[in-house]
Symmetry: D2
Subunit: 384 residues, 4 copies
Amino acid sequence: MRQKIRMGMIGGGRNAFIGAVHRMAANLDGLIELCCGALSSNPENAKISGRALFLPENRIYGSYEEMIEKERNLPEHERMQFVSIVTPNHKHFEPAMLALSNGFHVLIDKPVAFSLAEAKALQQKVKETGLQLCLTHTYSGYPMVKQAKQMVANGDFGKIRKICVLYPQGWLSESTDDHNKQAAWRTDPSKSGISGCMGDIGTHAAHLAEYISGLKITKLCADLNIVVEGRKLDDDGNILLKFDNGANGILMASQIAAGEENALKISVYGEKGSLEWHQMDPNNLMVRWLDQPMQIYRTGNAYLLDIAKQNTRTPSGHPEGYLEAFANIYKNFALTLNALQNQEKPLPQHLDFPDIEDGVRGMAFIENVVASGKSDLKWHNFEI
Amino acid sequence: MRQKIRMGMIGGGRNAFIGAVHRMAANLDGLIELCCGALSSNPENAKISGRALFLPENRIYGSYEEMIEKERNLPEHERMQFVSIVTPNHKHFEPAMLALSNGFHVLIDKPVAFSLAEAKALQQKVKETGLQLCLTHTYSGYPMVKQAKQMVANGDFGKIRKICVLYPQGWLSESTDDHNKQAAWRTDPSKSGISGCMGDIGTHAAHLAEYISGLKITKLCADLNIVVEGRKLDDDGNILLKFDNGANGILMASQIAAGEENALKISVYGEKGSLEWHQMDPNNLMVRWLDQPMQIYRTGNAYLLDIAKQNTRTPSGHPEGYLEAFANIYKNFALTLNALQNQEKPLPQHLDFPDIEDGVRGMAFIENVVASGKSDLKWHNFEI
Amino acid sequence: MRQKIRMGMIGGGRNAFIGAVHRMAANLDGLIELCCGALSSNPENAKISGRALFLPENRIYGSYEEMIEKERNLPEHERMQFVSIVTPNHKHFEPAMLALSNGFHVLIDKPVAFSLAEAKALQQKVKETGLQLCLTHTYSGYPMVKQAKQMVANGDFGKIRKICVLYPQGWLSESTDDHNKQAAWRTDPSKSGISGCMGDIGTHAAHLAEYISGLKITKLCADLNIVVEGRKLDDDGNILLKFDNGANGILMASQIAAGEENALKISVYGEKGSLEWHQMDPNNLMVRWLDQPMQIYRTGNAYLLDIAKQNTRTPSGHPEGYLEAFANIYKNFALTLNALQNQEKPLPQHLDFPDIEDGVRGMAFIENVVASGKSDLKWHNFEI
Amino acid sequence: MRQKIRMGMIGGGRNAFIGAVHRMAANLDGLIELCCGALSSNPENAKISGRALFLPENRIYGSYEEMIEKERNLPEHERMQFVSIVTPNHKHFEPAMLALSNGFHVLIDKPVAFSLAEAKALQQKVKETGLQLCLTHTYSGYPMVKQAKQMVANGDFGKIRKICVLYPQGWLSESTDDHNKQAAWRTDPSKSGISGCMGDIGTHAAHLAEYISGLKITKLCADLNIVVEGRKLDDDGNILLKFDNGANGILMASQIAAGEENALKISVYGEKGSLEWHQMDPNNLMVRWLDQPMQIYRTGNAYLLDIAKQNTRTPSGHPEGYLEAFANIYKNFALTLNALQNQEKPLPQHLDFPDIEDGVRGMAFIENVVASGKSDLKWHNFEI
């Protein structure tokens, strides 16, 4: 790389949670420069937020439309190269389409859009433009998740037979949605979409299961629940799964699991052994065999597979966490964009970030889960 | 107690697994004496087994019928007081009925019978005779499970909203059933009944969920699987649950979860907090609150509730395990029988062992799960 | 075995802690029968205690002298075969000597005596009589400790270079000794001996380090502390160690580590790898290698070494605990006595219990530690 | 802040380990800009390294002398504000002195210098210039370490009685020093100083113990070892400690603990309870009380003290790690420099980074430990 990759941010002004996370992830490796932003729909807030991020005054924009318009007229070596969209779900689609239409790559916080239809339109646009779209399913950025995926792909566990993925959170246990900005939009159908919990975290769980196993969900049976009275969207759900190789599974996601923090965990069972990974203890990958002592694979060790090592920054015993996983997505995306601007073929390990195909599957997951939730029949075919 | 309680054992000869566990559990506290046995249907094996247990020759019987016949004719202070039935499922009902009919209390390894019909007949017989029937759902014997149950009953967590109980085992991951005596009968419908995995361990999971929560399953949606080719009974399954207070849940039980040992674990979520317990780490009860640090309640400490203390034998930091949990069931049963022989009212804490009501629910669980597994409809009403 | 091995107990009446533990350990496998007792120096208490244990009236004795005298005059197939001495330290020596002198084997709770001189006299007596003396250093009874010992002996870790053994307890954090019977004698030099904490638990830690490593302590540097004001004996200490192969080590034992239960843990480091074991999580043996994923060896699995399997009662995933470890010592001792009475050579795996040699080393440990604690010089040679 | 704080780096060229860590830590929060560097003493390497970091050609310097000379002549709003010194120990002192002499603040990787004399000279220079010197004792940057420190300071545990700090690593288990650049200089007395293991990681352990407890080491008794043949510096050691309030302790540090990664852990025992923290599981702070269930305080929760919250970036359940802890030091240092340039008083929470006083104590620790190691006397007074 000759220069840092230049990023413009849409959303993520003061007090936004996920915007700050995106910026730390983009900062960590020193490969990406935040060069401009449309950080808030409130112009005052946009200004204050932009200054706090040391943006030059003339690149603090009042709207994403203005940003895209002005940036595309800057000299090529100066203008932003991609937009990072960190707004609520209902504000993903339009800026993403506009950015793509104007030649900018796009990175979007998950879920990729408000509806499956929007996601498919984005997919079409990505195909037409040949631009990159990156989706931040953070949990697939952890090195031990990549180790797990590659061990499965290498056949270490034989055929996969069963997957259990549980994602309990407790932060929506009480009806305090009005007081909490993060809760407010996530529980509002006009901003979040047709699902609450399943859209917000169920999609992460489903993506993780498919990412590690290399399998696709083909059928599901969903029990969606509104546990806290007065909510309009599911805050909890349990799902039975079938995968395309015949494996079965369960997916549980809940935001009313009082006392739980962000306890995503997954077990994948094959013929010869199994793996278990907990997001809150991410540097340990537990591996169990039929007739051998359990093993714990740990981040940063020489015995790991290349894909795990390539996504690690420190020696073993120096814990890496959520921000490093998030930064792996940004880093791989940036290295891919760098290859493209040099008219090189991106390396496979740099293309290892969730993309619009994952985005479409995520939106399909939401729509299929909601449809199944309403059905009296046990099995619902996963359709896109 | 003036004398040890006298036990006769049915089944449990040499090489039987669970019989030896029952004897260690009965031995531990020195309250019970094995006085006779019909340890095997093979007379030679019965003899050898009885001698190895130091039984007097005249009380090593060739069949349970002989044992019950001869023992009832012994003087009251000498004859056995209860039978412990540790045979495979299809051989529970007849000896239990005969023992009850002849005035002997009964302890049976779970599940209580081969079918719901048998269980109901036993229930009727227990009612008629006024005798005690104890069922060894071991996991409810752990002190921290009792602590959990009582904390829920005390309302510490508010209304219970969700229960996740997972029971992965890996010992039937391969088709080696013929070579393994334990596996052989459990996978044979003529000995095990209409379910394999759900009958063997799913019933434990369901009992644990109902025991801790004080709730009853009212609806379920089961996905039962035969994963290892050639088996005739389910070796794996996933179930969605509804409970009588509106709570939802999931129950997973599998015997093909390669690499797992006996990893029963449960999470119970209430409005104010939640608890988590793992059978393989049984002296820790993890308790999480909405706004307080997570707590770990540990066996043997002064801060525990009485019911936990009454089922503990050593000071904190001295790990108690599976055999101690099993022994708690035997001990409470023995203390109940002692009270009855003294014409006293058994203490509530001594009546805290699984009984014929639990046995009937367990058999109903099996039958409802199997029916749901065959149904195309999502929800199946739990019926007894 | 044709008959159970017959045990007489000295001490261990009502309200005694360790006596009940010994009885449960002796009961568990059904190989040992408590046939008589001198359970208390208070005759009333002795009677009540004996009846509660279902002893026949004529074998509830008022003193150990009476017991030994009367028992030796009983027919051989009826009289006790060994005494179990569970009194405080200052009351170990005399009954042990008398029992040995009268042809009874002896089992003693640790430390074996009140002083090194007593221990050596016992050692001499054992040699003369050819009888067995068993010492209950419980922690060496755990199956994963035996696995660890054998892996070290097999050279799996190469030469051992370093041992860290920590034994924090918190139960004497406050000056409540008068109210607690267990605390009272342990902090009283006339009953406990010249050391408090190091005698009570430091000896366990030292025994565990030597047992697993197969090494002997040759030099030490002790910092003994009386932390709670008014105590007369150490309640805390830290020790630097050298072993006979040149390895170094640390041993920490404390009874004022507020909040700790019984948190004995050990790490043994060799050239090629290391092991770690925690008494409070006893079924896991953590094994680390230079270039391989960490392994966890777990009780009850087929991959374990014979010595671990021989000391395990249940399948993997069924946690075994402190009482099972204690029972392993009783079981191996009983099987040794059985071989001897059959004039057979005891099997090596049955002789795997701590004996008078360990008892002498334990008392020497106490005396050397106390001497080092008083010295201004860094290193003190371990002398017996 | 109006502008990012500008940093010049000394050392940290390609293939250096710790330089990259410093840059990621400096990048994370977007408050610091790497504006120039003297990244290698090899000019070719310096150039290549500088370009890889996107430095402008004219600010890639061939030596730190050149960098300091040229930067001080740049306009104030452009020139670097502090130097980050990430060279081996023997190359800390001269650049630090030169930077301070020319008005630049200094950040140094630990230990602060090659000898105590150098450290004292730096201390004197800091006093004279009024500039800031920050030392990267990373482990005190973790939020749960800060929580621990503040709970101790608040008196939650009463008087502190005992501290155990263990720091086992295994990466120098074999004599491969020549092939490993990191190992090579650390085991070379001409580059590392008079101690290997104790200088490299023992200082971290000692700093952590003093940081959390608020106590100072007053006496020590050290056993330093060269375990791998042929080494010239200690690669292992065990130390007995006394603190200024009378508390005792142990400190173990080893680089030959085969299989261990970076397993720094500490227990601090007070009259009323105790805490335990493991660097490899940094988001959990285990807290034990005399009569209450154990608690686990976890990063990111509302119940934590302010100082922990101020050093956390993500919500609970999103693990933070080593780089975030490291970044806390950089962030607090940058916020302090920002206050100073605005002629404001730095906030106490921003001054919470290790400084030259810690650096002097660290060097004194090394010299006292080495002196004690050579002494035949048990106790050596800690002298500065």
